[in-house]
Amino acid sequence: MRKTSLVLHRLWQMLPVLIGISIVTFLLAQAIPGDPVRLIVGPRAPASVIESVRERYGLDRPVLAQYFVYLGNVLQGDWGTSIAFRTPVLGLILSRVPPTLYLVGGGLLLSAAVALLLAIGAALRQDRWVDQAVRLFSTVGLGLPAFWLGLVLSLVFAVRLGWFPASGFGEGLVDHVRHLVLPWVTIAVVMAPILVRNLRATLIEKLQADFVVAERSKGLPERSIFLRHVFPNSLLTNLHLLGVVAVYTLGIAIIIEPVFAVPGLGQLFIGSIVSRDYFVIQGLTTIFAILTIGATLVVDLLSLVVDPRVG
């Protein structure tokens, strides 16, 4: 019962943030240089068309009224029209969601797997060479440019060795996976260092906790102390990180999608910035914000369910 009210409270808290997001995206369009109507209809449109568009987006009214027209349009699914693609923005964006979800989802899983292995190896052999190597990797990895790493991986494993396709997304699940292996590895190499740092520190901290001493003195085998107590506890401590990490991974996905020509949100975003396709930029900014608060919300709710101390 208490948990239900916590969930409701959490949802209620999101309202001001959602309003804030809509104001920011609205201001983005306001800041565009030049007459926005010309942007929509092109430089040679007749006066009647200009008038009707001006009315549709409320551009002949005060700024505050324009904001509410914008909000109404967004809520009704009218996100404007792409100048480059000549299609409605919302549909265009939604068609690009699946590749990005594949990319971020798989990249997160691979990053977590790599980070867990490295962190456990390092924490169990603290200050030995395994640990030193993992720490070096986690420091160097922080400064790896993702777009460069993607390029180098595709040079070696696609252009030279021909093991994987260099670009694209393919057709069907198996083909998707084949195309996404190199982008996933890129994400994992860039993300794992951040995860490893936190996981290693928590594992080492928990290994020295009082409850571990107690279990040892009770005669529990090291193995079960680690697997049943230290490990789950450390995961729980790091659960809140998952939201931040997911959002960060989305950022990396945006950067490497153009490198591997994955037809997702990131490629569309970079492309629309280069071609100054403002309504697509505005729409994507909205979508990215929705994905961000969605990820944070899911993680919050998850820790509410998993962690007995909450609620």
């Binding site: 400064g143 777009f147 390029l151 100054r276």
Partner: protein, 285 residues
Amino acid sequence: MMAEREIAVTVEVGRPRVRFSRLTVAGAVIVTAWVAVAMLAPLLAPYDPDATDLRAFLQAPGSPGHLLGTDHLGRDVLSRIVYGTRIDLSMGVIGVMAPFLIGVALGVVSGYSGGLVDTVLMRLVDVALAFPFLVLVLAIVAILGPGLTNYYVALAIVAWVPYCRLVRAETLVLKRSEFVESARLLGLSHVAIMRRHILPNAITPAAVFVVTDIVLTILLGSGLSFFGLGAQPPTAEWGRMIAEGQNFLSQGWWISVFPGIALILLTLGFSLLGDGLAKQLRVRA
């Protein structure tokens, strides 16, 4: 509590035996080396970085006169990397300045005043954090137009958030301490208390974060340049160079690969320095 802190400071100042960890030293050496490369670029670079030589294009690394090879226009890759240091290094340092100043100022004011000011600022922070950082920067650059100056403007608009949060958290603790209480009883103005008593004590975590933030700023800036939204051609900038080599990956891998290695070595210096300082000053990185 405060008495202890002050004694500790005098001891450290009195005896110049502050031992820097090996991490910090290694980081400082690498960063200093890069600063030297940037300053001595005309002496170190064997060629003019923008001089094209169409008789010597796509020369492999190690060919006579071109240690790291030449690009598709015959420009010497080593010379371009050496001159690029100036852009990429200063990009990191310039990029963090405005966010640091704005964030620290807002953090102190927000934490110290509390009330409506604090509420409004924190809602602003919530909204900024609702976007992936990269998306906000890219969206602002999209509106303002490409170029490094606009990148710095975008950073000033959005990158102050982490500094503000760090300093605000410290300020909230300091505000309740006895020495701030006494300062207030002595009749010091709020501005004086914030400036002379809160700020110096609250700034350490933010100052350490600057070093880490330089890494992020360089990575994002070179990424922007890679997509043609940052440094404009023919500027010798590492992200740009990586982009220019992209079309020649199979004939001339070195055009893209070496600038990337330079980026890694530059960011490594700041990462080591940041880690070392965080450990030394007992700040959670």
